[in-house]
């Protein structure tokens, strides 16, 4: 055990160190090849200029390399695969695209995804905002925040397990072990099979993601709220606005930019997350979403790389407008340096 720990420790150190040494060495090398410490000023200036041209690429190099290899290349490969059949061996033209256009499950997934996109980012942001506002006002706010942030530390699968204990259904005559049904039964209602209720089951799954992500929204929005100039709020107080009006008319509009960032981040997450649906229903009872559909086509029964590629492309295409808007927003905000 001790030796394991030592070797692991060694690996950790070497790994991190190797990464750091790249930057250090490459800079050293630059300094040696293009000396600037001494010599003729004209020369130094020229060298510095060359350095300035090279250095961004040294800084960006590892990041670009990693992203090209691990992300760009697979995206291109995916794009190409989308024109091939299930084994990736035979060119089939647009057949996969045609399939996507007509497949019922695919349409179902799109519909559900739209539901998710409409609900989850909005709900997380809304709850995050409300909690941020409320917790900022009490002395134990930080404790409350930590508690609400805690679900972030739980893996999606773990979280799904947790929620199974909430949605669990037992027949009306049995003892409920699902909390929700127990409550329903306590108040005299009939227990329900929550995860099988058409349309609504989507929402029950969304609750899980909302439960996890609200902490994230809360933390970021709480920082933004602190940035609101106090005087604008006092001015509104003098103008006679009540708490509700101040919240909606003064505070929220002022942190709109941050809200947008939070919203975007969660939107992307919603499009990528599939563990929750997988563990809770695996897309049964019409809860399929795109990410799961992709996963299904990719791995189930040997996989169909062409169709899964299509779905992956659709997911990426769906986010593009949001990202473009976000980039615009970002460059407007700071005008660039």
């Amino acid at each position: 055990m001790a030796s394991q720990i030592i070797s692991a420790f060694g690996a950790v150190i070497t790994g991190v160190f190797a990464c750091a040494i790249y930057y250090w060495l490459s800079d050293k090398l630059l300094q040696i090849i293009l000396p600037v410490r001494s010599g003729d000023v004209r020369r130094i200036s020229a060298n510095l200029k060359t350095q300035a041209a090279i250095r961004p690429w040294l800084f960006l190099g590892p990041a670009l390399l990693l992203m090209i290899v691990y992300l760009v290349y697979p995206v291109i490969a995916t794009f190409i695969l989308s024109f091939y059949d299930r084994s990736g061996g035979n060119f089939v033209g647009l057949a996969n695209y045609k399939w996507a256009a007509t497949d019922a499950q695919f349409r179902q997934s799109i519909f559900n995804n739209i539901l998710w996109l409409a609900v989850v980012p909005a709900a997380c942001t809304f709850f995050g905002l409300v909690i941020a506002v409320l917790t900022d006002r009490i002395w134990w706010g930080n404790i409350a925040k930590s508690l609400i942030f805690m679900p972030m530390a739980i893996s999606f699968v773990g979280a799904s397990v947790i929620w199974k204990f909430i949605y669990e259904y037992r027949g009306a005559d049995g003892t409920q072990i699902g909390l929700l049904n127990a409550i329903v039964q306590f108040f005299g209602g009939d227990p329900q099979v929550w995860i099988a209720m058409p349309i609504w089951n989507n929402f029950f799954l969304m609750v899980i993601l909302i439960w996890i992500q609200t902490g994230f929204a809360m933390v970021i929005l709480s920082a933004a709220l602190r940035g609101i100039p106090e005087e604008t709020i006092e001015a509104a107080v003098i103008d006679g606005a009540n708490g509700w009006q101040i919240f909606w008319k003064i505070m929220v509009p002022q942190i709109w930019g941050t809200i947008a960032v939070v919203w975007t981040t969660i939107t992307i997450l919603v499009l990528k997350v599939f563990d929750i649906v997988l563990t809770m229903t695996n897309g049964q009872w019409n809860t399929m979403v795109l990410a799961n559909l992709m996963f299904d086509w990719m791995f189930r029964g040997g996989g169909d790389s062409g169709r899964s590629a299509i779905i992956a492309l659709i997911i990426m295409a769906a986010v593009t407008p949001i990202m473009i808007w976000n980039i615009r927003q970002a460059s407007e905000d700071r005008g660039g340096h």
């Binding site: 590892p62 670009l64 691990y70 409320l134 679900p151 602190r226």
Partner: protein, 390 residues
């Protein structure tokens, strides 16, 4: 001072605020408490009663077997078997106060404890609260085995640490824990270092193509990672074969995690680093610092809150990851990460709630420690660049 303090003056009664936050916290905590309690219960109970009943203790129905007919004594005209339902019953009825009993599985609580019950065939049975019973018949007993009775036994709340013991003492868990850390720590630090350099270049250095790179980076945030697994592993294998080294190594998984977290890291860190005061950086430039020195000595220390915030997310993600670890590190016993090792305990068909819940809690611990250690930076650090004056 912050904006919200002012709300207080507006007059919304503070009590309501306290209560609503309390309510939200409870709502948010209930699921977690649910698994915590579940993880402390005995496997048999988990599926048969709600976790919230664990505190109160419950009346549990169980079966017990009375003494063998051979142990019967003759008492006047009657034959009597007596003893305790808790003795040597292979049904393993747990001790407790007997509330009711019955002799038919369909009606296990037909009779109240302590009262003699006429169960037909001239038989009477009395089971007392302490479990002692008297079973008599006006004729000799004829059954081969002891009679089955059903008992409703009040049980005090009981918890067990067995589930945790099972998980923690299972083979290879220590190794897996070390492996997890070996994966997660560099997989957190490396991308942060790399993306911080990149974020600096993208916010403070001028070079052609900067805008396009920023756009591409942001676009890459959405690439679903499942898609890239096969082409990447293929590449790893080819590289491994070419150089004659193992294709699955820590380096491989570090880089994979680093790359998958990279776009988001660059996006968040750039937001922050671009928001650093321009004059400070220019001032360092006038002082003669090169971009490398500016980055290392000025930007890096100043971005610490943002780095800390992002490292929380990256750590959470690598720590909780299973798929990437399995693919790029392998599934051998000595390569398993904690999530994988705990997963292996679940059995092929899954369904071991007690193990699942206990493992969920064990995996949470490290992220929670990391979270609390870095939490104070989180509040002001994350995206602080996008917040004016933040």
């Amino acid at each position: 001072m912050n904006a919200a303090i002012n709300l207080r003056r507006i007059g919304l009664p503070r009590l309501i605020v306290h209560l609503s936050v309390l309510l939200i916290c409870i709502l948010w905590l209930i699921p977690t408490i649910g698994i915590l309690v579940t993880s402390l219960r005995e496997p048999g109970q988990i599926a048969s009663s709600g976790w919230w009943t664990a505190f109160t203790g419950a009346a549990e129905t169980s079966a017990a077997r009375l003494g063998e007919p051979s142990t019967a004594r003759q008492d006047g005209p009657n034959f009597v078997i007596s003893g305790s339902v808790f003795d040597g019953s292979q049904e393993g009825a747990k001790k407790g106060a007997v509330r009711a009993f019955g002799t038919k599985v369909a009606a296990p609580t037909e009779f109240t404890a302590g009262n003699p019950a006429d169960i037909g065939d001239g038989e009477t049975l009395t089971v007392n609260e302490d479990g002692s019973y008297v079973y008599s018949k006006n004729a000799p007993f004829s059954d081969k085995r002891g009679k089955r009775v059903y008992l409703s036994i009040a049980q005090p709340a009981s918890f067990t640490l067995d589930n945790y013991r099972t998980v923690l003492t299972s083979q290879g868990i220590g190794q897996a824990f070390v492996n997890s850390l070996t994966v997660a720590i560099p997989a957190t630090i490396i991308p942060i270092l790399i993306s911080a350099f990149a974020a600096y270049a993208l916010s403070w250095m001028h070079f052609p193509g900067r805008a396009i790179i920023i756009a591409v980076v942001v676009g890459l945030i959405v690439v679903p990672l499942q898609m890239s697994l096969i082409p990447l592993l293929k590449m790893y294998n080819e590289i491994g074969a070419f150089f004659g080294i193992a294709s699955r190594s820590y380096v491989g998984i570090w880089l994979a995690h680093a790359a998958f977290g990279m776009p988001l890291a660059i996006y968040l860190l750039r937001n922050y680093i671009a928001g650093l005061p321009k004059e400070v950086i220019e001032s360092a430039r006038v002082d003669g610092a090169s971009d490398f020195e500016i980055f290392v000595r000025i930007v890096l220390p100043l971005s610490f809150p943002a780095l800390a915030s992002f490292s929380i997310f990256q750590f959470l993600w690598t720590w909780n990851d299973l798929l990437v670890a399995m693919v790029f590190l392998g599934t051998g016993k000595d390569q398993l990460v904690l999530t994988g090792a705990l997963n292996a305990l679940l059995g092929s068909m899954g369904g071991k709630w007690e193990i699942l819940t206990a493992s969920a809690f064990i995996t949470i611990i490290v992220p929670i420690i990391v979270f609390f250690a870095l939490q104070r930076y989180l509040v002001r650090g994350l995206l602080a660049g996008s917040v004016k004056g933040g």
